[in-house]
Symmetry: D2
Subunit: 428 residues, 4 copies
């Protein structure tokens, strides 16, 4: 049962409302925003929504261990409860992305209604061929869509098709494919063979997807395979997408790059090719660390959002709408707090990107005024946009300070009481 906290939010907001209004005025003045621009920015922030994946609502872990805190959702309905709670507070996450088979909906119709009743939508559905399920005939130990054995490939293709069917029943229109396929040692893979088989498998899935659906092809350079991954980089994702058809696109996960990669340029490239399909947000210092989005390199996140904003403004770009999702692992923070921090950081970067003076930037770029172009970015990035985010939340009915609400309302304690201390979210 989803708890409605609107009244409690309002009460909580009341305490800081006066000061909030002052801050908004101060900020508007500092940023020299006229009413039109101010309203436009608030509206843009309000409408920027990021999906929450069903597997991110419990405590994550590493191969070395996992330290759950309790109160984790025990089933899909409770996961939706958690997403609803986050959305009520932040008004920034109006959809949930499902993972099959961790979250197979038993009754799609009632699930759709549950979502609808809570103002939520279904986002992409995600297949899983990186683990073996107990009832599975063939093992994915040595790969799935790339496997040398046709039977294993067919099983993986069938699984993906089944995932699409679940998605159709729920109203989704996107299939996210992340393959862990790869090799740990030189010699194991015939690189060309593995690529060709993967391409053929993806094509087989693509062919049976409904015409309204989009396939998102994710890439990752390493982990869980540590010598080669079949889809290690954007170049491979792009070529595979092109081989499938017009509705296959590249999915960028911020943690899936080699050290020092300029991710924002990759984003711009994919926009140029009209093939940027989706985004998995998270933070990283070393590799696929799956930390809170924006926790380590907030400026990089801003630079990425600059590309996304330009991608939306620039008429010459023919790219479909990008699907945004958080994909993080909440190992040491409360998962719900972690998600709310990510949502805040994502919108912070987005709002700052909205402040960039595009006309001035274009001029500086044309004239190769390097320092000047950088100043334009710095001016936007150094701006404090938190009052704008709070205002956008407030107008949508959310909390002025979601984490403070979460803590002062002792939500986690309540969840532990309801769900128990030792629960484990499916998929963890």
């Amino acid at each position: 049962m989803v708890i409605k906290v609107q009244a409690a939010i309002n009460t909580h907001n009341d305490k800081s409302l006066k000061r909030h209004r002052e801050k908004v005025e101060l900020t508007k003045n500092l940023l020299e925003l006229n009413d039109g621009d101010f309203e436009r920015i608030i509206d843009s922030i309000k409408s920027f929504q990021t999906a929450i994946p069903s597997w991110a609502l419990g405590t994550g872990g590493t191969r070395f261990g996992r330290f759950p805190k309790g109160g984790e959702p025990r089933n899909l309905e409770e996961k939706i409860e958690d997403v609803s709670l986050i959305h009520q507070l932040t008004q920034a996450s109006d959809s949930i992305s499902l993972h099959i088979p961790w979250d197979i909906p038993k009754n799609p119709a009632s699930l759709k209604k549950l979502l609808q009743d809570n103002g939520l939508k279904i986002d992409a559905v995600n297949s899983n061929t990186f683990q073996d399920q107990s009832d599975q005939k063939h093992s994915y130990k040595f790969g799935s869509l790339c496997h040398t054995d046709k039977a294993v490939r067919q099983q993986a293709i069938d699984h993906n098709i089944e995932v699409v069917e679940h998605g159709v029943a729920l109203g989704s229109t996107m299939l996210s494919v992340w393959l862990s396929d790869g090799s740990n040692f030189p010699g194991h893979h015939n690189f060309r063979g593995a690529y060709q088989r993967t391409q053929e498998s993806l094509q087989a899935i693509y062919k049976v997807m409904p015409a309204s659906w989009t396939m998102l092809v994710e890439y990752k350079p390493y982990e869980p395979n540590f010598y080669s991954m079949v889809i290690p980089d954007w170049g491979t994702s792009l070529k595979l997408s092109e081989a499938c058809g017009d509705r296959a696109h590249v999915l960028v996960d911020l943690g899936h790059h080699l050290p020092n990669t300029n991710i924002e340029q990759i984003v711009a490239r994919l926009l140029y090719f009209g093939r940027l399909g989706g985004f998995h947000f998270n933070g990283s210092q070393y590799g696929d660390d799956d930390l809170t989005t924006g926790a380590i390199k907030p400026y990089q996140l801003f630079l990425i959002f600059h590309e996304l904003v330009q991608g939306a403004i620039d008429k010459s770009i023919k790219n479909p709408a990008v699907a945004y999702m958080i994909d993080a692992s909440h190992n040491v923070k409360d998962p719900l707090e972690d998600l709310m921090q990510s949502l805040e950081n994502i919108r912070t970067s987005y709002a700052k990107a909205l402040l960039v003076d595009s006309a001035l930037l274009n001029k500086a770029q044309r004239e190769n005024d390097v320092a000047g172009a950088e100043q334009i970015f710095q001016k936007a990035f150094q701006s404090d946009v938190r009052p704008l985010l709070a205002e956008a939340r407030l107008r949508a009915g959310g909390s002025l300070d979601p984490i403070d609400f979460f803590r002062s309302a002792k939500v986690r304690d309540t969840l532990i009481e309801q769900r128990g201390k030792q629960t484990v979210a499916t998929g963890l």
Copy 2:
């Protein structure tokens, strides 16, 4: 019960003995080894032993999954069986390193006898404060020896002391400490405080260690914490070792370095300071990949062994004997085959390092003959030493081709039959 396979090894060897002898002669001639040098090298190879850790005998995994094959040891005795089998075949792994609490010996005396009967010794004992055990009072979620709460630190200290006691009972003289302590986000750790508390905790453990004991302090730059680790690098390990006393040394794990680190120079530094305590062998392409040793960068392994060999030769170096151990995760290979490959690759690098003409190298170095010095390394590295390794194994009673023996004798099938398909080695 440990199976003795000497007779079977002999029978298996017989089939290739003639050809082996030819190969040895051909190699001796190609490498221009006189009898004295030849015997000296064979003896050196024979005596180079690497410990097997008790946790490396089952199928490893990643946070994404695990694909066990079956026949894994179900208890400490069966782990010793596996090590014994490997040692009978390779004659290269005469000791086992224990991990507490995964392998708490219930009857130390009988365990000691079991080891002795199989020509095995106990290597270092390893503490574990990176996971919570079900009977544990305080959680290590936020650290152990570095924890801000004195009670948690004391629990971790006590655990380490208990590990030493288990080790004493079994005849070990080394405590390996690897801490996962660290932080995932800026702000969580007071870096100086965390360091000071860790130092004090290590000193407390060091103080109660028997005088004959050595403490090995391992470092690792990231994972399972992804923003900071309390002991991220050799410099920190060294300073902590110095703060403890003369019998605390640095432990180098080949996978615990940032991208592109020159590990061989670190080894040389630690030898210079007389503080190289131990080695964890494994292979890596990206991070702590825990692959087969030598699987990715065999030349680097050779260069490291060059330092180790020089460290043993050079009278000016005052370094204790270095403890060698394999620390790998066997995710896709049969664990026993994987270990035997590692042992082979380790001795290959060692044998090649023995072939380096030190006098000539010293001359080239003094004269800054860069190309000449490199040629000396290349001459040794390009040499094919596999017949020398086989000869060393043969003389010690081992197999000419351990993996071929393992496969043709269908050892894994036998183990699965005995132990079952679904076994999971403790600690995995």
Copy 3:
């Protein structure tokens, strides 16, 4: 001749003074700063000074080329002119660091006076044993302080001593030693020998340094040697410093780390050991890119400054005053604009670090409130401190907008007119 621009600065400031004052008030209100805190922060910002190196005033380049713009200083006096101009505008760079032999002062007394007349001081003096000078007897091709040939080492030692003497004459009290010594290929260096010779050479220099002097030992993992560097990391710098004596400290250059290094933790370590001697500021995406400070990872710079601020506050730390310098290469921007941007970004990070609520942070750290601790950092980092920086500059007599002044006054054009289009700053 140094141009005094105070009057022009005042005129230029006048145009934006009113709006500046509004911004200061808005910011004070937004940040909820009472008068006491506000004044304390402005004072702190005002007193934070960073040295400019004499080699950073011209257009830099890479091994692939150099694209100078003209108007570069032709001698040491003109370099001082440029530093003076920057300091007049920013009031943030009250000292100059000299490089010998690029900037050997012919008349130290008059140079001292020139500096004094312009409110400037001498910072560290820097030796150069990474290039051969035309009048040099021995080559540094194969190293300097680490060289196998005693004569080369002695020449390098003598050079450093000569640098100290130049420094004494000018009133400096610090010698910065950066060694390019290393090797490009396995085999060339005997790692232990190279280290020992380097240590002995540094000790020889240290011994003759005046008692009031400090030696700063810089580290760098690679470039210009690409296999090993004799001083690749902080651990090596620290051990060498300890081997010299109490007045030898480690110098951290932000660009001198392997990918993904947590630099702020290294800073904290060195503060803990009381051995953080100096800082070279610059920005980097890949390696020693020598970009504008703060241009790529401003949050990391903030985190580093948090450690520095804590180092100054925390009574338990016994660290000498840290010497701050910019060390960048201005390849595509106007060098003076680039330096002013760096100075701004440095003070921005510093000011934000001053905003961190230490008491709250300590509490969150003690309680392992990971999300809470991070929020405290984010609150400070997200604050817009630019009006505070402008106020600090204004009070010190500087420009409200140095780069705008520089551009609107057409300073570069004037310099080109005076000094010519084809000038090359010494050392470039």
Copy 4:
């Protein structure tokens, strides 16, 4: 004037000929090669040729300095002399790659004859838009083919066309394009604009290239630009090649990858797409270190050659012949020795790749015998093929030991005598 050293080579060979023949027999026996396989391998080695670039014959340097040894070629004719000498000794480098404008041939006809007389061919011609020439109208400071100013782009296009014309006159059929175009700071580049302009410029060049010509598009992630490069990765090179036409291909330089990149898989991908155009060989530990090929990661080089060999064997691959070239910077070794070491290491990897049992490997791959597949690689890699290389050289008229010849014949001394101590090869 090219010196013919055949007689001297023969005399030098005579001293070690007997032992060489023994070694060949020992090796043949150890590797169990029958006469047919042996001859096939020797023939393959003999025919594997790598081009030498005209800029690699002098001492290279870094932005920190350059330490030339003397005797460097003063003009194109002397560069050809040096290549001829290397080829006479190694019989492994039958072509020279030219760089324009460093090596503009004044008299193409006589140059062609000079090459012909020495058994040499012209390889690819290389354009240079990463430096400004003194007679150049527009500067490349802010880019060339990507420049925002049409006039600069046209100048760069015209330069490339001129390079093609020089190449036509000499009989070349390949244009190598490496662009340093990129940006050092966020904001400077409009990523999409820069890409589009680059594509249009390349298309303009491609259009006027003769129909028999191939364009090679090189990629590099960083340096000399340190924030973004317009062509940073294989994906970008591939897309640009596809946009040009069937005769545009990707050029892989071994040093042009982010840390930990699996290069061999990239090679396999490009072969799969039929777009692997060329190779620049060198060695690297950190970045574009330009060390001797095979000096740091010889196993990786072997793995790359395995792909190249498979690419030549596998009938399903439709890839044009790959152009092989060494692209290194000889900073501390004698350039000619360095090149000969590279040639030796290249052929070593090639010969080992020829030893891989493809049929067995295919079987192991199909059956996912991970350890078995790796053993097949190790068996080939551990083999000592140096006697086979010597035999291939001997049969072609080369030296059994080129570096020993070079040193004992005191070639460098002779060159210094002829050309002087202070010469600088053009382009350095």
